[in-house]
């Protein structure tokens, strides 16, 4: 473990922050770091999701497993998840996941009495813990003009006389075990592109040629300034590394007119949350989890247990 120190101090600049959406820049680090963060967000940030369903009555058209599967996929608010215990290593209960430290109980009772079909939605789930409830999308203003229409996530539709009664237990888990525990809807990053326009060469182009260069990109990266008739980069991040502009420029016989480089140490992250955790919290939790993992690596660095956990990697770390 000797040699030069690769320690760097990454910087984060938040561009946009909403409850379920975050866009930020991560600078002065490399791809492995960015990717580790992404992977942890998808697979290792814990949330709470329904894991056990006991069905009392189900006369709906969907069968028990079907409903259980749908229930599992409903995002539950999981701010508590970081502090909760996994039911498998909960010592307050004997691992059956029935205690308040590791589980939350839900009840659902719905029966259709009227002639109209009744939509059973996530709002019909009654939680034993007010901090762990199905995610409410109504306040996020996601295109629903009338909040009355928004009744949560549909679980099943009941017709007259059909009934659904069940008890469900939600547990803490991570996305690695099942996608229902993944708090991230979308986590992605891109290298920040650096676009250079050779102004001198550009001046040699006619107006028509300039427009064709501008239009060659499928996304709106370039624009023609109406006053100066100059090609300008309006939105470098819209560039999708599709090389279309470069091909165009090449075809025009002007290689080097436009050059694009990916900044190897600068990433633009987009994080969308399922609603289980706020997008900002998701990133923070991910860093926390990542830190814990690294701590675990550091602690186990030269123990034999490392072999159990890291396999060959453990031997590597011990310099094997």
């Amino acid at each position: 473990m000797e040699g030069a120190s690769y320690q760097r101090f990454p910087k984060v600049k938040i561009r946009e922050l909403k409850d379920d959406y975050a866009k930020f820049e991560l600078r002065e680090t490399d791809a492995s770091m960015a990717n580790a963060l992404r992977r942890v967000m998808i697979a290792e940030v814990p949330t709470i999701a329904i894991d056990l369903v006991e069905i009392e009555v189900n006369s709906s058209v969907l069968n028990d497993e079907f409903i259980a599967h749908r229930l599992g996929l409903i995002p539950l608010t999981s701010e508590r998840a970081m502090s909760m215990r996994f039911s498998r290593d909960c010592d307050a209960c004997d691992g059956d996941g029935q205690c308040e430290f590791c589980s939350v109980e839900f009840h659902l009772r719905a029966k259709c009495i009227g002639d109209q079909t009744l939509d059973v939605t996530s709002k019909d789930l009654y939680s034993s813990d007010h901090t762990v409830v199905p995610v409410d999308f109504s306040d996020s203003g996601a295109g629903y003009e009338n909040p009355e229409d928004q009744r949560g996530i549909t679980i099943v539709k009941l017709r007259k006389g059909q009934e659904l009664r069940l008890r469900a237990i939600a547990r803490k888990g991570i996305g690695k075990d099942h996608a229902k525990w993944s708090p991230a809807a979308t986590v992605t990053f891109m290298y920040e592109p650096e676009i250079h326009i050779n102004e001198e060469m550009m001046e040699t182009l006619s107006l028509e040629e300039k427009t064709s260069v501008v239009e060659s990109s499928p996304t709106k990266v370039f624009a023609l300034n109406p006053q100066t008739h100059q090609v300008e980069v309006v939105d470098p991040e819209a560039y999708t590394y599709d090389d279309e502009v470069l091909k165009k420029v090449e075809a025009m016989g002007k290689p080097g007119l436009i050059e694009v480089y990916a900044k190897e140490d600068s990433f633009i992250f987009t994080v969308e949350s399922t609603g289980a955790v706020k997008a900002s919290q998701l990133v923070i939790n991910a860093i926390e989890v990542l830190k814990q993992k690294l701590d675990a690596v550091r602690l186990l660095e030269d123990t034999v247990e490392a072999d159990d956990q890291f396999g060959e990697l453990g031997a590597h770390m011990r310099g094997g």
Partner: protein, 1144 residues
């Protein structure tokens, strides 16, 4: 884009009648009228299985009456005054009689209750019990029960709307056209045959040219062959022991002079010279007069041909068995002579000119036999048999001198014969009609309910006439005449390839039509009656023969005028829509056909290349003023059969029509059938790929029908979240596949990943599977019977709690049946009942002895399933039947089979975490990864276009179309347009994306072709197939391990594996595999005589039974099968002796 804009301009200028410029005139006119709307209308009136319904309706309405009318009197042999006369017959509504109460049947009731969906056949009878009693009448006598085709006129579902169908438990999208027999859905396959009553010229095995006619009339069926053998012409007929010279036959029919024959054959000396050897031959036999000829034939006649009661000698044979489709009135054989001469002439034409040979594979020479016709055959036979039994029973009674009870002939009508006969044939598929020498197997098939489209496939399937083993290429090849009638893609692979065919989307199969009016119309239009013509005039060069359904009516001097006249009458609705008029220039004949079983399809009529359908017609259709039939009535559309198509010049599009064009296609994609219609852009694929998809689409899981959850089929595969394809076709919408899909739109990345994707394997995203991709429900039916015996019966009992294996019976309810919703595991008991120890006991049920009988569930270990439903019903003998549906939800696992809609099947190679999957900067992560090596050799360009189209579809929010050949008519989106949409939404025009590796976070080296493709999950899943065993069951006689997964069998080291081991020299391994692990057995061998001895366990001594002592006995190990072989050999007097040596 530019093109379409230009054509748009053209359209406008055409409308405005602006300045005519040359470019506009030469530019192809954009399909002026969108005729697509006709298709849904066609399917509304004709439906996809209309051919079956029409045929069945015809049988129920017309044919059954004809059959009964033809055999309407049953008369006693002894007393002609004792008789039954059937005055009327009709088929009622489907119903059953339970405890004397008539109850209407619905198809769903029958499916669930293992009943036959059948309706009573009623007759009105008039009967007389002897000369002393008066004639009596009886109305509505039931003679049997007729299975009813679903959605036919007699079916309760006929004319019902969606709501009513739902109330009856029926799926509104189900096409009908099948029967429900004992709870099974059976479809009568369409049978392909050579057409009857037509002259077919071909050559036999030796290369002799022959003319053959398969005659079929209401009375008889026979085959007549006229063959040229060694320059002489012979007649070959079953009624004669050997071939007969044709001149003798002609003389026997009254054509005594050779000149007459030659004249009738035609003036051309070529014909006369070909006939000369035959004439000379005839003279050598000394046959000159009709009388001599008849004597000659009489000698060759097979005796015992007295089926018609009276034997009328050779003349009778010539009249009734020799080409019986030509009627002979009052022994006037003129028509028959003419027919024979025409046959001979056509045969000679073929000798002189090879081209005149008929093609047996030509679709115009084929007839499709449908359910109505097949049922009619069966019914006729059963009806006649019933009449015979009535007659026999009556005769038996009448023959007795004294009768005690009052005799009533009407009491002898038995209804079981017809009911059982029909039911048996439908459920076994064996058509044994000895009266017509018909013994066919596999006529019916269970409707495949694996997928919705599979059910359609069963309904349009055509079963071949030949046996499948024949290695001939001719009948298997794609016939040009198949165009538009039979689907060019949909045929199975393997031995039935090309023989089993499927109907195309707009095909209609005709039913029989009355000939009388057509004959009189022909004479009105100037056909010269044949009976008024001399032989010389027959083939005069300025005239054409007019032939109706194989019967020569006469000749016409202006055939084209005549044909046009007939066609005009047809378009005006004066003759049936499906009558075809076909002028055959080469044979100088006008063929008119009105027989059943011809395939035909609708086409738009064009006058000098101008379509008769105009914009306003289509608008009227849209407004609901018109329907498909009114298009026919108004002469805008007509049906053409394969033969008449030869007289038509059909343009694909209106724009391509020239002044000679007579018809215009409605839509080109209708040449494909329902199964091939699911494929997007099939015209961009390599043709076998489409064929593969046609077979695979039937195995795809999805929604079966709207009533799928109430059905009790033996096996149901369902998808949990089926989707509608993003890239649809018009056919998909027409058949309703968009409502009952069988697949999911998966985001596919075409790239290599992990190495677990070689040989078409696909890599799947674990998170996608978690979220429900490819998740399926498998439901299996298990049933049990509570048998009733004479005095006792099986008993429902409450399971006793204190049993030795309480955990196995915990899912049982108080009635000893597993209750719905319970989780059932391998080896669980799902039914427990008490069976009487002695079923024949005569003691009271409460005193009888019972033993407990259980049924255990055998499923995959560690895979718990759920009891979905338990249904009780009673069978025919009123035994209680319990049916359990066991449901198992499965998520995809490694080894499960998937396929796209382009014949690209592959198994799941590995399942990988989402975070390891590549992702795009938009955050898109594929659901599955497909290896790009799947493309170059398969050439499924359609799949690539599907990906592009779907990608554009998801980004712009509208479904894109990919109908076959749809680009010109706007039923398929062009790649340019799709690319434009993609660019508009910020994607690359070529569908490729810039992806990052999910493992390292670095960009991938190449751009990845990624987008949604509709993927089907096929029914083949590892869970049902995987198998391995260590110790296990053995066969009884050989003591070797059993074979096959179902018997938990061993895995065989076959001869090839054995060869490898021998070559490798691993003798101990061979020894272990072939003996130790298989059937080792210790035997006692006598060293002296070499025979097997035995151990006497009482005296603990070893004995050789041949030597009668135990002196030289050695013990050795042998495979048990070897010992068995020795003993078997000994039993047939062969003595195998073992020679033992000391082991070194």
């Amino acid at each position: 884009m530019e093109d379409s804009a230009k054509s748009h301009d053209n359209l406008q200028s055409a409308g405005g009648g602006g300045v005519v410029d040359k470019q506009f005139l030469t530019a192809p006119v954009k399909s002026a009228v969108d005729k697509f709307q006709l298709l849904p209308e066609f399917l509304k009136v004709r439906g996809l299985v209309k051919q079956h319904l029409e045929s069945f309706n015809y049988f129920i309405r017309t044919e059954i009456k004809k059959i009964v009318r033809a055999n309407n009197v049953v008369k006693s042999r002894y007393d002609p005054n004792v008789y039954i006369r059937y005055t009327d017959v009709w088929v009622g509504r489907p119903s059953e009689v339970v405890d004397g109460v008539t109850d209407t049947l619905t198809p769903q009731k029958c499916r669930l209750g293992d009943k036959t969906y059948a309706a009573p056949i009623f007759v009105n009878i008039e009967y007389c019990n002897g000369s002393d009693s008066r004639t009596m009448m009886k109305k509505e006598v039931v003679i049997g029960r007729m299975p009813i085709m679903l959605r036919s006129l007699s079916c309760v579902l006929h004319g019902k709307d969606e709501d009513e169908l739902a109330k009856l438990g029926e799926c509104p999208l189900d096409p009908g056209g099948y029967f429900v027999v004992k709870g099974n859905e059976k479809v009568i396959l369409i049978q392909e045959q050579l057409s009857k009553n037509r002259i077919i010229i071909d050559s036999d095995k030796k290369g002799c040219v022959q003319a053959s006619v398969m005659s079929s009339t209401a009375m008889t069926k026979s085959k007549t062959i006229i063959r040229m053998e060694k320059e002489k012409i012979y007649l070959i007929l079953n009624a004669f022991t050997s071939k007969v010279p044709i001149m003798v036959v002609l003389k026997a029919m009254g054509m005594e002079t050779d000149q007459e024959v030659v004249q009738m054959l035609g003036r051309d000396p070529q014909y006369a010279s070909l006939l000369l050897p035959s004439i000379e031959d005839c003279a050598t036999f000394g046959v000159y007069t009709q009388h001599q000829a008849l004597d000659f034939l009489e000698k060759k006649r097979k005796k015992s041909m007295s089926r018609f009661g009276k034997d009328e000698g050779a003349l009778g044979v010539l009249r009734d068995i020799f080409i019986p489709n030509i009627p002979v009135r009052e022994n006037n054989f003129h028509l028959k002579c003419v027919y024979v001469v025409v046959m001979v002439r056509r045969m000679m034409d073929a000798i002189l000119n090879e081209d005149a040979m008929d093609d047996k594979d030509y679709v115009g020479n084929k007839r499709l036999e449908l359910s109505g016709q097949l049922l009619a055959l069966l019914f006729e036979d059963l009806f006649k048999s019933m009449n015979d039994t009535i007659k026999m029973a009556v005769d038996k009674i009448l023959s007795k001198a004294s009768r005690s009870s009052r005799f009533d002939i009407s009491q002898h009508i038995l209804k079981d014969n017809i009911t059982n006969g029909l039911e048996r044939s439908l459920s076994t598929g064996n058509w044994d009609v000895s009266r017509f020498k018909m013994h066919r197997k596999g006529i019916t098939q269970i409707v495949t309910r694996l997928s919705f489209i599979g059910a359609f496939g069963s309904m349009t399937k055509i079963s071949p006439q030949f046996e499948k083993s024949r290695k001939v290429s001719g009948p298997r090849a794609l016939q040009p005449s198949q165009w538009g009638m039979l689907c060019p893609c949909d045929t199975p692979e393997g031995e039935a390839c090309g023989l089993v065919k499927n109907l195309a989307l707009m095909t209609h199969v005709t039913t029989d039509e009355e000939e009388g009016p057509i004959i009189s119309l022909c004479y009105c239009l100037g056909v010269e009656d044949l009976s008024l013509l001399s032989g010389e005039e027959l083939h005069s060069p300025d005239s054409f023969l007019v032939i109706l359904n194989g019967l020569i009516l006469g000749k016409h001097r202006r055939p084209q005028l005549f044909a046009n006249g007939m066609r005009k009458l047809r378009r005006a609705g004066k003759v049936g829509d499906f009558v075809s008029i076909y002028v055959h220039e080469k044979q100088r004949c006008v063929y008119i056909a009105s027989d059943g079983g011809r395939v035909c399809r609708p086409l738009v009529i064009a006058d000098k290349g101008v379509s008769r359908i105009k914009h306003h017609h289509m608008k009227e259709l849209k407004d609901g003023v018109r329907n498909f039939d009114s298009f026919l009535r108004d002469g805008l559309l007509e049906y053409l059969d394969v033969n008449e198509e030869n007289n038509a010049l059909i343009a694909l599009y209106e724009g391509e029509a020239t002044s000679e064009t007579t018809h215009i296609e409605i839509e080109p994609f209708t040449i494909l059938g329902a199964c091939a219609g699911l494929i997007p852009y099939p015209h961009h694929n390599q043709s076998p790929r489409n064929t593969y998809q046609c077979a695979m689409g039937k195995q795809a899981m999805g929604n079966i029908a709207h009533n799928q959850l109430t059905r009790m089929d033996t096996l149901i595969y369902l998808l949990v979240y089926p989707q509608r394809p993003l890239l649809t076709t018009r056919t998909i919408e027409l058949v309703g596949y968009d409502k009952l899909g069988a697949g999911q739109n998966a985001t596919v990345a075409v790239m290599s990943y992990s190495g677990y994707d070689i040989e078409d394997a696909i890599v799947m995203n674990k998170s996608s599977l978690d979220r429900g991709f490819g998740r399926c429900i498998v439901m299996k039916k298990m049933s049990a019977v509570y048998q009733k015996y004479d005095h006792v019966s099986d008993q429902i009992v409450s399971p006793r709690k204190s049993q030795h294996d309480p955990e196995k019976i915990q899912i049982l309810d108080n009635d000893g049946l597993a209750s719905p919703g319970e989780i059932i595991r391998h080896q669980d008991i799902y039914l427990q009942k008490d069976c009487p120890v002695d079923p024949k006991t005569k003691s009271h049920p409460s005193q009888a002895q019972y033993r407990t009988s259980r049924q255990t569930y055998k499923g995959a270990e560690g895979e718990p399933a759920v009891v979905d439903r338990v249904a009780l019903c009673s069978d025919k003998k009123q035994n209680l039947i319990v049916k359990f549906m066991i449901r198992h939800t499965r998520r995809p696992e490694v080894g499960d089979k998937f396929s796209s809609r382009h014949g690209q099947k592959g198994v799941c190679g590995t399942i990988i975490q989402q975070e390891d999957f590549p992702f795009s900067e938009r955050g898109i992560c594929p659901d599955l990864i497909m290896n790009p090596h799947g493309f170059p050799s398969r050439m499924t360009v359609g799949k690539m276009i599907e990906l592009l189209g779907s990608k554009a579809g998801v980004s712009c929010g509208k479904f894109h179309y990919g109908s076959a050949f749809g680009e010109p008519s706007g039923h398929a989106d062009k790649v340019e347009d799709i690319s434009e949409t993609l660019v508009k939404h910020g994607f690359c025009y070529n569908g490729k994306d810039f992806l990052y590796s999910g493992i390292t976070g670095t960009p991938l080296q190449a751009y990845i072709f990624m987008g949604p493709i509709y993927y089907q999950k096929l029914k083949h899943m590892v869970l049902d197939k995987m198998h391995a065993r260590g110790m296990g069951p053995r066969q009884l006689i050989t003591r070797q391990p059993t074979e096959g997964r179902s018997r938990n069998g061993g895995l065989r080291v076959g001869e090839m594996e054995r060869d490898c081991l021998i070559a490798y020299g691993t003798s101990n391994l061979i020894y272990e595999r072939l003996m130790i692990s298989s059937d080792p057995f210790e035997v006692q061998v006598c060293r002296k005589c070499g025979l097997l001895g035995y151990i006497n366990h009482q005296t603990k001594s070893r004995m050789c039974s041949a030597c009668k002592n135990g002196d030289n006995i050695s013990a050795m190990k042998l495979p048990y099968a070897c010992k068995l072989l020795f003993q078997e050999l000994q039993s047939m007097n062969i003595v195998p002796r073992l020679q033992l040596d000391d082991s070194g």
